[in-house]
């Protein structure tokens, strides 16, 4: 029976991780950064674990901020509509 050319156990729970593992084993693409990581790339990059973590936290922070601003503006708009209806 033909066996898989990919040797190690692949975490099948995420499509992204499956692609990464297949790239690493079949195409020997180890996702090394093209150049040295300098400047802001030291903290925000998609190669190191900490870089990925920082990107995730930044994305969540931006989304939370956007949701907060939207909620506040809607609250203020409702208050403004209530006061103008009262007067």
């Amino acid at each position: 029976m033909p066996t898989s050319p990919v040797k190690t156990r692949i975490p099948l729970t995420s499509f992204g991780h499956l692609i990464t593992e297949v790239k690493r084993q079949l195409f020997k693409n180890d996702a090394t950064p093209p150049t040295e990581l300098t400047g802001w790339r030291t903290y925000f990059n998609s190669y190191t674990l900490k870089g990925r973590r920082n990107f995730v936290l930044a994305t969540y922070s931006v989304l939370a901020l956007a949701a907060g601003v939207y909620t506040l503006r809607r609250h203020k708009k409702e208050e403004h509509e209530t006061t103008s209806a009262a007067t």
Binding site: T13, S14, H17, A31, Y47, R52, V56, Y60
Partner: protein, 227 residues
């Protein structure tokens, strides 16, 4: 009262007592426990061998921290496989066709794996939400997609088990009804349909065991990422 095909999934009660409680407790009384003898009888030995082998296989990819889950995962597997198999007998009720039961297993166990990951290794757990080597323009989209897939996991776990078992039971009932209806009218067709029913029942036995295994295997994979 006209019977519908979905009546088999209704959880019945007797004098106000829901019988699902008895159905859920049934696997517990069915299995013999080890005695205080030095060597147990054949049945208990086979049972122990199966559970040991299964647990060994499941714990292979997990680190030592994940081995704490051995008892939970092994007992969950035995419970699910027993309930699924008993449900294939005629006139029995299958608790795992209830989405509430399956979600009651999937959500807390999945959440436990996520909380363990966030608590013990938050950097790795958060880093898993972004695949390596992602181009910068795709990063926010991919993070959102991976977050959605993370939250979809318990839903998929519960619905997979429910849908597989419900669909199987419905098919069995439909084809069995067809056999009974066709028997006086077209006996030859009824015999062919009965043969299909037999094959379907064999398939459902396999599905019952496989779905229980898949449920537990996926939970162990989620744990492997986080422990």
């Amino acid at each position: 009262m006209a019977m519908s095909f979905f009546d088999q999934f209704a959880s019945s009660s007797c004098m106000g007592v829901p019988l699902i409680a008895i159905a859920i407790a049934l696997p517990w009384v069915m299995y013999p426990t080890s005695t205080s003898r030095w060597i147990n009888n054949r049945l208990i030995t086979i049972q122990g061998w199966f559970i040991n082998r299964f647990t060994n296989q499941l714990m292979l990819p997990l680190s030592m921290g994940g081995h704490k889950w051995a008892l939970l995962l092994a007992s969950l597997m035995v419970f699910l496989i027993t309930i699924n198999m008993i449900g294939l007998l005629p006139y029995t009720f299958t608790p795992t066709t209830q989405l509430s039961l399956n979600m009651g297993f999937a959500v807390p166990l999945w959440l436990a794996t996520v909380i363990i990951g966030m608590r013990n290794q938050p950097t790795v757990a958060l880093g898993h939400l972004l695949p390596e080597g992602t181009p910068i323009p795709l990063i926010p989209v991919l993070i959102i997609i991976e977050t959605i897939s993370l939250f979809i996991r318990p839903l998929a776990l519960g619905v997979r088990l429910t849908a597989n078992l419900t669909a199987g039971h419905l098919l069995i009932q439909l084809i069995a009804t067809a056999v009974f209806v066709l028997l006086p009218m077209m006996p030859t067709v009824a015999i062919i349909t009965a043969a299909i029913l037999f094959l379907l029942t064999l398939l459902e036995v396999a599905v019952a065991m496989i779905q229980a295994y898949v449920f537990v295997l996926l939970l162990s994979l989620y744990l492997q990422e986080n422990v």
